[in-house]
Symmetry: C2
């Protein structure tokens, strides 16, 4: 058999697997699964249904792919987001026609918004029935009872939330190209793509030989006169600055350019002050000598803001210019002072370039940068905000301090949308990875994302633990996924903030309204046991409980009893600004 | 103040409320809420969010509207479906921009498919920000990072799953008309409609006087030469039949025409055999002397099928010709032998009429029917299927018998999609209402729908209990809504079928595959207590446990331990047919 080229870290195994196929033809299902396998993915998330069972059967034909069954499809999508953000690989979600795919949609939309790569494979109605007027389950009945249903409606809807869509039909050769195209696009755009596989085409034969050519999904930087000119222009801006600063942002991790960042950091070390954004947190270690802080405009640390705002050039790498990254639009950087590299564009002091992007030029820029020509900035020393350490009761501030003290470099911190999120703008991560969904900001994200993050860590054999913080209102949205944490024997630490409802909404509007209450008194510490885990959680009711906390091995649920109106001071500040 | 006309049963109260308003202007939020109130609705379901809080504040301005906070938006949509189907009123769902509305979408799609009326009110981004390029939370980031977001994208998506959409803008007078139009369309089509209310327009003033004119939503039959001709044609068909039969179907309840049906049944009594469909079950009492059975084509009772298939005219009222109602396409009624009335059309022995519908002609037909001219059919006596009564273990058959014996006329039976669903094709309801979602068929429907049904019963002061049957796989999808059953102090009986996973999928494909397993050993009987209910459920492990079962007051969770592969014989038959 023809040799398989090395296309990624796992190609050795892929090579073995493909070469062991003894037939000239395989099914399209196996083709899809082997492409997934080739990309180094070992776990597939989802929920079965009549329309995807045939496809799922083929999972067992391929050694080394594991099914991670989730409790529902929205949770499965969130798990995929956690997976993709943790290991920077594409996640794979399998759902069923209509009921399943639409249940996942809000989660897919979140991944689209936040540039998290996903293959969403939907098992659809049989090809041979797509043109009949039979009204069977999961089909949306049309506007008239006597009209034939539209089997492609959900595909049209999905197009709004994805960068590529592929509908498998009877043409086997085209099918392989469709699969490859969608996978390539997902990696180019780093966003969800859809494959729609009719349930009667899962056994369609395609040539095994298509697999000999590995699918190249790695981004190939476009080196052209255009990109070299852009690099040259940026270098000139840097060299002519008196006081440049580096602002580290979100797309560095999404685009897997942390190595390039590391090179830049070491080149600039001792010359240039370094900042990060909220959604770029974790890319620079706070212990870096020239790290000043997280820039959040008028929110967060005022000294940090003053420092970066007075520089004459901000080199912003991985720019994602969204609410959470610009201090809710309070950031005051002037376009003319900013050189920005983003996933799909570059902006040079106000001039937007859309045919060149970060992935084309960042590496070249770092290579070519002549550090001797970079001005030595004055080093800013910002005093770390003193963390209030009052008496009882326990507050979110205490939790922040506690988490800062317990994070280690291989950990992953996941924080759901809610009051505590605002405490994390200035949290010190000590090298841990920070995963959230703060732009899309759907509550309930964290528990399923924790599942995804744990599976990603397990698959890549990476040490450290997943630490998750979630409000009670968020937790009740997706609670049952705790059962999957038990089922797949993963060991995250869940901090469950019991503050009697939707506190963040209470401080915005209706502090005592029934709409901000959540359902009665849940027995949070019982939950793991109820879901088959056999372990009782711990209740943490005071500062001393928290300081004496010892966290054991295995899945942990820690319920923190917090005052109903306690929020981090950052949130109080934000709301005060909004009102003034 | 001008008097308010009586528009429905609640207009007396509405009159009082509106007349007590002391101002010439009210907010658009109050306007919407008072319209809802006028329609006799007393409960509003949903989840709060930044973009709907301002609107929700106005809930407290109106006495007699209660907020039913759900754990998440999909559950809230299912609750709305259960509510609408139980009391045949429009349900109201409030969600927040993007994250909330999209999370609910799959449930809304189910309501669209099954003609369940819903007002989905979405609090959207501020009007004054819709044309800016600010990227804040819940906005879908567009295809390029440097392009402005589309604030209307979700509205466009929703249009695929609703019969009417209204976007409130700065024009106050138009706003009232928009609200009225959407509410009218929802009632005309009996399907979901959307109102999008920007969060900065909730306080917009509209004239109170608009409320003096009540909103008429009742369907007004179109009496025309066309409809009278249709009635005449149908009567001729009936009179010339030797052996007519009546087939009672779904849209009779949706269109609130059970009184008309009752008139027809009493007119035809002693002459014509009566059948129902799966989704029409509960409209005719099985004790009706001429009731033959539920027609499910080749599924279900063969004698029932032979009987109806040999008649020369089937008068099918409320036709919904979908999979569950035609025995998975095995029904053998000839179009030329069927007169069918549906929600949007009439069909007379093969001739489709789309400008006249059931609501136009059914009442007229019954009025004009000269029963003396209707042939006396031979009365079919079908022996009821003998229910197998073997020994242990406990099976789904036993549960069917148990439920048949315990249902009373005011009860509501809710059954989720799954194996047990197939046992309900022939279940005897004894006057109870039967609620399901068997066309859309999303699992996880039943627990939230139970909440909705209980609230509907409570609001209308109707006696009887809600009895719910749900598989473990379905239950894990939406489990947390048990907490709302506790919170709102309702008293359904939940039969939880613990058969160790997705049994219905196991018998279709992959009996022992991991994709058909669900998460580990849940402690089902602990769930109510965990969600704050303080009560332990009962475990039913054997036939004698079931026969000795005594069901107490208040919320009950009954866990039935069933064999992993036990399914009703109807499902076994169906699959055997599919394979042959
Ligand atoms: C899916 C979804 N629904 C609703 C919202 C609106 N929302 C944002 S934060 C929040 C409350 C969060 O409460 P909780 O998780 O208890 O955190 P707390 O602020 O109380 O710590 C809500 C309802 C949302 N962001 N996402
Ligand atoms: C939202 C959704 N996801 C997936 C499916 C596919 N599906 C149909 S039935 C079923 C299994 C139901 O299992 P369970 O509720 O345990 O019932 P059982 O057949 O075991 O009694 C699944 C996964 C669906 N119908 N809806």
């Amino acid at each position: 058999m023809a040799p398989v080229l090395q296309s990624d870290a796992c190609s050795g195994q892929y090579h073995q697997v493909v070469n062991s196929i003894n037939s000239d033809y395989i099914t399209i299902s196996e083709y899809i699964l082997l492409r997934i396998y080739q990309l180094g993915i070992r776990s597939i998330f989802g929920v079965p249904g009549d329309f995807n069972l045939n496809f799922l059967e083929h999972l067992y034909d391929i050694d080394g792919l594991e099914w991670i069954g989730c409790c529902n499809e929205l949770n499965a999508a969130y798990a995929c987001d956690g997976y993709a953000k943790t290991c920077e690989k594409m996640a794979v979600l399998v759902s069923t026609f209509g009921v399943g795919e639409l249940s996942a949609l809000a989660g897919v939309a979140g991944m689209y918004s936040e540039y998290s790569p996903l293959l969403h494979l939907v098992g659809t109605s049989a090809m041979r029935l797509k043109n009949t007027d039979k009204k069977f389950h999961h089909l949306l009945s049309g506007s008239k009872t006597y009209e034939a249903p539209d089997h492609y409606l959900y595909e049209k809807v999905a197009a709004n939330f994805s960068c590529a869509q592929g509908s498998i039909d009877l043409d086997a050769d085209k099918a392989c190209s469709t699969v490859d195209r969608v996978l390539r696009e997902i990696h180019r755009c780093l966003r969800p793509g859809y494959l729609f596989l009719p349930c009667d085409l899962t056994e369609m034969k395609v040539p095994t030989s298509r697999l000999y050519e590995p699918l190249i999904v790695d981004y190939v930087p476009q080196i052209s006169s255009r990109s070299t000119a852009v690099v040259e222009a940026i270098l000139q801006k840097i060299y002519s600055s008196q006081n440049p600063a580096l602002l580290v942002d979100y797309f560095i991790s999404r685009c897997k350019m942390t190595n390039t960042l590391a090179k830049l950091l070491s080149k600039l070390d001792g010359r240039v002050n370094v900042y990060d954004t909220f959604m770029g947190k974790g890319l620079v270690d706070e212990s870096h000598a020239w790290f000043v802080g997280t820039y959040q405009g008028a929110l967060g640390n005022g000294d940090v803001a003053r420092a970066i705002e007075e520089t004459d050039l901000v080199l912003r790498i991985g720019t994602f210019d969204v609410e959470m990254n610009n201090g809710a639009f309070s950031a005051k950087l002037q376009d003319t002072n900013v050189v920005s590299l983003s996933i799909d564009s570059v902006s040079i002091c106000g001039e937007l370039v859309t045919d060149v992007n970060m992935r084309d030029v960042f590496e070249m820029l770092v290579e070519q940068l002549d550090v001797e020509r970079v001005a030595r900035s004055r080093k800013y020393e910002i005093s770390r905000p003193s963390r209030p350490t009052g008496n009882e009761p326990l507050t979110m501030n205490d939790l922040r301090t506690h988490i800062e003290q317990s994070l280690t470099p291989n950990d992953v911190l996941i924080v759901d949308t809610g009051s505590f999120m605002w405490a994390t703008g200035t949290i010190e991560l000590h090298g841990a990875k920070f995963i959230n969904q703060f732009l899309w900001a759907a509550i309930g994200y964290a528990i399923p994302a924790t599942l995804g993050a744990c599976i990603a860590k397990r698959d890549s054999g990476s040490p450290g633990r997943v630490i998750t913080v979630e409000g009670d209102g968020a937790a009740e949205m997706t609670l049952q996924e705790i059962a999957s944490l038990v089922r797949y024997k993963v060991d995250p630490v869940l901090y469950l903030l019991n503050n009697d409802g939707y506190t963040i909404e209470r401080v915005i509007q209706g502090p005592n309204r029934s709409y901000n209450d959540i359902a009665t008194k849940w027995q949070w510490t019982e939950m793991v046991r109820c879901f088959g885990g056999g372990k009782i959680g711990q209740k943490i009711a005071s500062r001393s409980d928290l300081s004496q906390l010892s966290i054991g091995a295995g899945l942990q649920l820690l319920e923190l009893l917090l005052p109903k109106f306690d929020v981090p001071e950052e949130l109080t500040d934000l709301l005060a600004r909004g009102k003034s």
